[in-house]
Structures are given as structure tokens and as C-alpha cells.
């Protein structure tokens, strides 16, 4: 007879979820499930809209990463127009995407996750948050705020507003960057770079202190998927798909986004609104792959900026082949912040960055368009089919958090097997299950596309599904 533990709701993530832990007749953890219990249905209600409206509609999927949806959607509409957008528009889109990565990673690292390490997993949960962090390490709270603020200022300067900018459009972007805007961004860049370097140096130095979490929080072989440039360098906005295996060996490379369905399947499970994408050649559920900062650092051949290349070399010493521990998503975020700040500076130095040639004008010439971009949490696909008059007839979106769904379930199972003792949900188990999920920085608003938000809930269930214990926070 199996038993079940439920953690419901999960805190300090964006969205609504609960966790159930199933025990077998011997009382051992059989499996754990990460349930996403809300539904929004963007894919359905976008049908019937003009394809030109899609960037501004789909940006509303999320208030945390609207830029990612805006860019993936704009790229899908570029594909419908069959245009190669102006180089300046490509660079401006890259800057905005990287700025969003900075602000999103800063929120995840400094304000949502670092309280676990600074205050301790077993510290009072009422204090284990950004306010508790500010009490004991005010400089860390301030530096996180400074990075977020700079990232948001970059987005506002380039795209006109911080949240839900309607700036990326079919064929390019709606407005060029001004000289004043470039100077404003550059003025804040040295502080952002200093914070990125300082924080990375601290975390890299102390990473060994987290060896227990690295061993237990999602440490397993899997594939990794990310965009890479033509030479294998990091690519967050343009680029082609690359899969690598747990040894870091390239499994598939330079795949055009429009061909993603040859490589990625989408399974569903009755216990969650979150889809379960998988690597098609290995089938479901064996084709588990991870996306996001860890996957990007595992997949790329190099970062492409001087300091980030040095940091990447040090990061890779954490693994033989690929770095497998999902705990190291946190470390990977810091490497990416450093890369993003450096890369934004490079792009702003390009002589064409202030060009006013930022949008191609064209009529729709294809019936299907696929756009892809790297959101902070991982690769994001928007796939549109349109009928006569440019009316959208079918939409498929594969969101980063969904692609980490199989890995999150395995992570929760691994943590439960290690920390569950007996038939009671202890505070220690609750804290670590939460932290294991939080390493992925899941955005459930995006991935279900869920409304509302929820705290953590865990249930422990027996072999027949009977409730043994429950804990909520």
C-alpha cells in the first residue's frame, strides 16, 4: 500500500502549485509530483486575433518576464512576414532581453533564494525572506535592488516602459535608441558590473559550503537545451537550438526553431496543467531535458565576453562533463548576469546602435511562424498559424518552466527520499523541497498560463492515496 505527502502551497515562486509525496507499502518515497493547479488558456483565446497583435497580447502572460514573450512573439511574427529585420533592431532586442535577464536573475538570486543560504534552511520561515536578509546583510539586499533597478532602467530606456512594453513589433522595433538613452544606460553600467563581479566572486568562493544541496537538489543526468550562436557562443535572443547530454557532448546542434517539433514532444499528465515537454528521440518520460541558466552554460561552447568566459571556465569545474546539480542554477545566474552586463556594453559600443533603421515593412507571406528566445528561466517557443487576413488560427507555446517540469518532479523526489523520515512532514523537509523547486525559479503564471499566486502546500499520501500528513505555509 503506497502513501502520499502533499506540500501545498509552494512559496517564493511566481504562481500556484502544490507537491504530493507518494510512499510505497514499505513507507519509502515512491515518487513526488509537482502539481500546477491553475489554468489561463492563452493558447486558445489568442485564436481569432490578428497576428500583429500577438506581441502585445502575449506579453501580458507574465509581469515578471513580459519581454521574453514580447520577443519570442515578435520573432514569430517576423517569420510570418518572412523578413530579416534590420541589424540595429536585432541589437536593441538583444539589449532589452539581456536587461530583463539581469533584473529577473537579481530578484531570484538576491531576494528569493539567498535568504535560504544567508539565514539557513532551518531558520524561522517568518524571517527567511528579503526583509530578514536586509536585517542581517543589508548590503546584499541593496545590491540586489541596484541590479534590478539598472536592468529595469535599461528596459524602460530602450523599450519605453518597464513592464509590458509594446515595443518589439513584427519586422523589428517601434523606436530607435537615442544618444541620451545610451548615455543613461552606460552611466549605471559600472555599478552593475561591480555588483555582478563582487557577488559572483563571493558565491564561487563559498560554493563548497553548499555541497550537500548540490548533491541532493536535483543532481541527476539529463539533457540540456539552449540557444547558441553560430560558433556555439551564448545566444539569448537569436541563435539556433543545441541539445547536450550529461557528459556535455553535443547531441543535436544548430536546429532551426521552426523545426522544434521534430525534437520536442509535449506530454500531459492528469495531475497538472503544466505540460511535460521531452526530447522526442528518447521518448516520454526518458527524454528529460533542462533549460535555463544551467542549461545555457552547459550547452554553450563559450560565453563570448571576457569576464564571463573566465567565470564559465571556473563554473565548469563543478562537473565532469555537464554540471548536473540543479542547485547550481543559482551560480549560473550570476555568470549570466556578468555576461549580460558585459554584452550590453559591447552592443552599446556598436556604431550602428543609434541607427533609426529599426523596422522592416512587409506583408504577411507565410502561414506559419515560429519565434524563440531565451527567457531568464529558459528557452521559450511561440508558434503561430494564421489564415486569410492574417487571423491567428492556432497557437502553441512551450514555456521554460514547463520544459523543466520533468526535472522539477525528479528534484522533489530526490529531496524527499533524502530528507523524509517516517510519516511526518518536518519543517526541514518543507524548507528543502521549497528550495529545490526555487532553484529553477519557476514562473507558473507563464507556464500554465496560471492566474493568481499561491504559497506552498505539501501532502503525504499513503499507498491507496490516503492522506497521512499535510503542511501549508
Amino acid at each position: 500500500m503506497s502513501q502520499r505527502i502533499v506540500i501545498d502551497p509552494v512559496t517564493r515562486i511566481e504562481g500556484h502549485a502544490k507537491i504530493t509525496i507518494h510512499l510505497d507499502a514499505a513507507g519509502e518515497v515512491e515518487e513526488a509530483r509537482f502539481h500546477v493547479t491553475e489554468f489561463r488558456g492563452f493558447e486558445k483565446f489568442c485564436e481569432g486575433r490578428s497576428f500583429r497583435e500577438m506581441p502585445v497580447i502575449t506579453a501580458r502572460i507574465c509581469g515578471i518576464c513580459p519581454v521574453s514573450h514580447l520577443l519570442a512573439s515578435a520573432k514569430a511574427t517576423d517569420a510570418l512576414l518572412a523578413v530579416d529585420i534590420p541589424d540595429t533592431a536585432k541589437m536593441l532586442r538583444q539589449i532589452v532581453n539581456l536587461a530583463q535577464l539581469v533584473q529577473s536573475h537579481a530578484l531570484s538570486f538576491f531576494h528569493l533564494s539567498s535568504p535560504d543560504w544567508i539565514l539557513g534552511y532551518d531558520s524561522d520561515p517568518a524571517r527567511r525572506n528579503v526583509l530578514g536578509l536586509a536585517e542581517v546583510r543589508p548590503e546584499l539586499a541593496r545590491e540586489g535592488i541596484a541590479l534590478r533597478k539598472w536592468g529595469q532602467q535599461v528596459i524602460e530606456t530602450v523599450a519605453g516602459r518597464r513592464i509590458h512594453p509594446a515595443w518589439a513589433v513584427a519586422g523589428g522595433v517601434a523606436s530607435p535608441l537615442t544618444e541620451e538613452g545610451r548615455e543613461r544606460i552606460l552611466a549605471g553600467l559600472p555599478e552593475a558590473l561591480a555588483v555582478a563581479r563582487k557577488t559572483l566572486a563571493w558565491f564561487a568562493r563559498d560554493v563548497e559550503e553548499h555541497h550537500e544541496e548540490a548533491r541532493v537538489f536535483g543532481n541527476f543526468p539529463s539533457l540540456f537545451l539552449a540557444l547558441v550562436g553560430p560558433d556555439g557562443e551564448l545566444a539569448h535572443t537569436d541563435g539556433k537550438l543545441r541539445f547536450v547530454d550529461d557528459q556535455g557532448q553535443i547531441v543535436a546542434d544548430q536546429i532551426d526553431a521552426k523545426d522544434y517539433q521534430q525534437w520536442i514532444g509535449e506530454a500531459v499528465e492528469p495531475f497538472s496543467y503544466l505540460k511535460f515537454p521531452y526530447y522526442k528521440p528518447q521518448g516520454y518520460p526518458h527524454g528529460c531535458y533542462r533549460v535555463g541558466p544551467l542549461a545555457r552554460l552547459n550547452a554553450c561552447s563559450r560565453a563570448g565576453t571576457p569576464l564571463a568566459d573566465e567565470a564559465l571556465a571556473q563554473f565548469r569545474q563543478l562537473g565532469r562533463g555537464a554540471v548536473l546539480a540543479s542547485f547550481h542554477y543559482h551560480y549560473a545566474r550570476l555568470v549570466e548576469i556578468l555576461y549580460a552586463v558585459e554584452r550590453i556594453e559591447q552592443l552599446l559600443a556598436d556604431p550602428e546602435i543609434l541607427s533609426e533603421d529599426v523596422c522592416a515593412v512587409a506583408m504577411r507571406s507565410r502561414r506559419r511562424g515560429v519565434g524563440v528566445s531565451e527567457a531568464p528561466r529558459g528557452i521559450l517557443f511561440h508558434d503561430y498559424e494564421v489564415g486569410s487576413g492574417g487571423v491567428v488560427s492556432k497557437v502553441n507555446m512551450i514555456i521554460a518552466t514547463g520544459q523543466n517540469n520533468l526535472a522539477m518532479n525528479r528534484t522533489v523526489t530526490q529531496i524527499a527520499r533524502h530528507y523524509l523520515s517516517g510519516r511526518t512532514i518536518t519543517e526541514g523537509l518543507l524548507n528543502r523541497v521549497e528550495a529545490g523547486i526555487r532553484a529553477y525559479d519557476p514562473c507558473l503564471s507563464c507556464s500554465t498560463h496560471a492566474a493568481g499566486r499561491m504559497p506552498l502546500a505539501v501532502e503525504l499520501l499513503g499507498p491507496s492515496g490516503e492522506l497521512i500528513d499535510a503542511a501549508t505555509r
Binding site: 512559496t11 509581469g63 530578514g132 536585517e135 533597478k149
Partner: protein
Amino acid sequence: MLLALGNTTRGDDGVGVVLGRALAAKLPPGSVHVEEAIQLLPEHAEAAARAEAVVFLDATVTGAPGSVSAHHVHTRAPREALLHALTPEEILGLARMAYGRAPQGLLVTVAGGDFSFTERLSPEVAGAVPTAVEKALSWLAPYLNA
């Protein structure tokens, strides 16, 4: 500083933003820093810490539609299940802990009745805007005259 909160595409939820604009129009140019936001985030604490006083303007689901409420905001211990969005009390608490000072705070709310997908306020809520603005102005007067 005015922190005008709300989603202007969700009917009465946008009243905080409407209040922020109406209030700013009645204040001497340059005397206030106005921020419009859908929700309160950690970075608002940095701006708040630099302000002499902060007025939080928001909609509420509590009370009869159009009823106006104003009360002082005190720094508060953090919630157990802290999510991405903070409360006015937590913003002031974070300002004090991270930046060493918390300004005086006032929260002015208007109870909403219609939070559906529209950019218009319901008649009750629109009619309450002048009252809410007057309450905020009255509280701000000592700071403006200082």
C-alpha cells in the same frame, strides 16, 4: 513620494493610478516623485527611503464600492509566505532595514466594485476620487509647507 498601485486594465483596480495622477496635478511641480506600479517590489523601498513621506494609493476589495479609507502605515515584520509582491508596511520595513530609514507613510484606498477587463472606473469609484485626493492632500500638507 506617491506610489500609485493598480492595473488600469482591470476596472476599479486602476483607481490607485488615477489617484496618483490627480494628486500630482494638484501639487507644486517637482515637489513629489510619482511611481506607478502594478505591485510593490523591493526596489520601491530604495525610492521610499529617500522620500520624506510616502503616500500609497491603491484599490481595495474591502468595503462598499466608492468608500474611501486612509490610515498610517507602520513598518511590519515580514510575512511567513513572502511572495514577489510586498505590502506598504513591508516596503517601509525594507527601507528601514536596507537603507537605514523609513519615511512616514499613509495608505489611501478606495473600495472597488468592478474588477473586470475594462479601462474605465465604475461610477461609484470615479466619484470617490476627489475625496481620496483631499484626504491625501490634507495628510501631505505639513510636508509641503515645511
